[in-house]
């Protein structure tokens, strides 16, 4: 295994060196929609790391889908597009393995260094022959949320899924339910029609109806800032503020305000900026100098933000680091 790695690395270095001869590294990053708040932070991290690449004569290009309707195939297309455009290195998330793995395999087959980030975990990186994995593990992030609420004494949870069929969202929800189960509770999934995605009112009202109809639910989990905000509102409208606690993935100003005000129990932080920044840095340094990071699986999360450390995080936001 080790020998294989060395051989693979040598091959990659040779390939990279031959391409990088002319100028710096042209790195392509495949990610979410540019107008998705979480992904715009990842993009910023990637572009900030890209400033070093630019100073060395390289570049960072962001490729994101038009929408999330057809996530797997669209993302696979973007990976192939990066190959087409002569990428020196590629960063990509393994959202829908069935659809995207063949494209990642083509990247490796073309001798282009690859880093998997955000989704898939080290397992995907090893399977595909990628250099490393940078990111939180979706399942673990969900698990952290379930564990947190379970430890707080909640017994019955529901995970809000606005993108039925997307592998990463299902991983979050499975993790949440397992985390809650580990603490002695049970969990379920509230499936919304895909047309509700992005409509805060539709999400809030669905949450509310679900809570009213299932009064035994006392914990909820939502993925993304928008859905979490809407879920918090739905709980308030159901008259269950204080009795139903909610954790959400990612955070923004209003989520932090929620935690301060006590309307939201916790936010799971996967630190998107770090994902973009480190994935690009690793590849840039590798393509230019052949240096590697021996630590495999660089975890950027999950970190739990709750009332105990929210003030610190707000300081971090002000300083521009989060």
């Amino acid at each position: 295994m080790k020998l294989l790695n060395v051989l693979a690395t040598t091959a990659l270095v040779t390939a990279a060196a031959s391409m990088a001869a002319a100028e710096g590294a042209n790195i392509f990053v495949i990610g979410g929609k540019p107008d998705d708040p979480f992904w715009s932070r990842v993009k910023m991290g990637a572009e900030d790391a890209g400033k070093v690449a630019e100073a060395q004569g390289g570049s960072v290009t962001w490729l994101g889908p038009q929408n999330y309707d057809n996530l797997g195939p669209d993302a696979a297309e973007l990976i192939r597009q990066a190959i087409d455009q002569g990428a020196d290195a590629i960063v990509g998330p393994d959202w829908v393995p069935e659809a995207m793995d063949p494209a990642f395999e083509a990247v490796v087959a073309a001798g282009i260094p690859l880093v998997i980030y955000n989704a898939g975990g080290l397992e995907a990186a090893d399977r595909l022959g990628a250099m490393n994995y940078v990111g939180a593990v979706d399942y673990k992030s969900g698990y952290a949320g379930g564990e947190y609420l379970g430890a707080a004494g909640h017994k019955n949870g529901a995970c809000v899924n606005t993108l039925p069929g997307a592998a990463n969202i299902e991983a979050f929800c499975n993790g949440f339910n397992d985390g809650l189960a580990a603490a002695g509770g049970t969990g379920s999934v509230l499936q919304l029609p895909a047309t509700a995605f992005g409509d805060a009112t539709a999400v809030a009202q669905a949450v509310r109806a679900h809570l009213l109809q299932n009064p035994e639910i006392d914990a909820m989990f939502a993925i993304g800032d928008g859905d979490t905000n809407a879920t918090v509102s739905g709980i308030q409208q159901a008259g269950k503020a204080g009795s139903v606690h909610v954790c959400g993935m990612n955070f923004n100003d209003s989520i932090l305000a929620n935690i301060q005000a006590g309307t939201q129990a916790c936010a799971i932080d996967q630190q998107g900026y770090q994902q973009g920044f480190f994935a690009v840095s690793i590849l840039n340094n590798f393509v230019n100098y052949g240096v590697t990071i021996p630590t495999r699986e660089i975890l950027t999360g999950p970190g739990v933000i709750d009332a105990s450390n929210v003030a610190l995080v707000i300081e971090g936001v002000k300083a521009g680091a989060r």
Partner: protein, 339 residues
Amino acid sequence: MSTTGRDQKTQSSLGNIVRRPETGSFVGLVFVFTFFAILGGPIFVGAPGWSSWLNIAAEVGIVALPIGLLMIAGELDISVGSVIPASSMTAAIVSGHFGLAAPIGILGGLGVGLLVGFINGYLVAKTKIPSLIITIGTMFAVMGLTLGFAVLLVGSTSVSLVADPLTKKLLGTFVGGMFNVSMFWWAGFVAIIFYLLHISPIGNWIFALGGDRESARNAGIPTANLTIGLYMLSGFAAAFVGILQLLTYTSAQVASGQPFIFNSIMCVVIGGVLLTGGAGSVVGIVIGTATFSIVNQGIFFSGLDPNMGSIFIGVLLLAAVLSNDGFRALTIKLSTKKS
């Protein structure tokens, strides 16, 4: 065509009631409500259930009303889908990011809606290009501008706004913890648009415009200004919903609003308005909106798979257009028999 305008309203025989398009919509409403009342039980019939679907109805209803007027006049407006986020993003950037007073940001957001509406209306009135195409074009353009400027000015695609208590109270609170103030605004919109369509002379102009644009113009109706006005109303209403969402959920996102495009058209059609223009009523649009929202929310109370909701809406839509068609055929048959 002209018989389906509001001259019908003056007659009141039983036959006329049956023949009115809203009657079919109303039967649909009663059926849907009963169905979900049986499945959803006391919670759905009580205040929580009512507020649940009314909160949904208020937002889609505010957009659906001017869309309905446009459809009566024979036009469409797809751009509402991107005006909603454009307006909430504008308000959030002006008041949240740059820290100006909330009313200024709100005026800015509403101004964006009026401007997009003006451009739509001007292009529809002055060119011969179908409104579907023009508003698809402005939809894409406004979407791109919103994203581009949000990233350029703020560097982020979600901006939060914590408004002063009075603004929040007027535009983004829940009365009794569950009824969103948006439904009172919806009621206001219903009253104003009811006046416009059924009482003021403009109403007749709108029906005439949808019936036959050429003869409407020959009859001295300022068709160009009327079209521009209707589009500005529709842009304004969409922008207003954007503001309501911003103040309720305290943050604006670039990507939202797309569901409103088809949802508003569906509400209008279930309410008995056809795209062919020249016929329809505000009461019908309100009934259609209520029906649509009851199905959408009732499904969560019923224990059925949420996706069954789409099948329901689609079947209702088909039933609405088919019965509407049947009513119309009946009307035409009866009126030809008389003459």
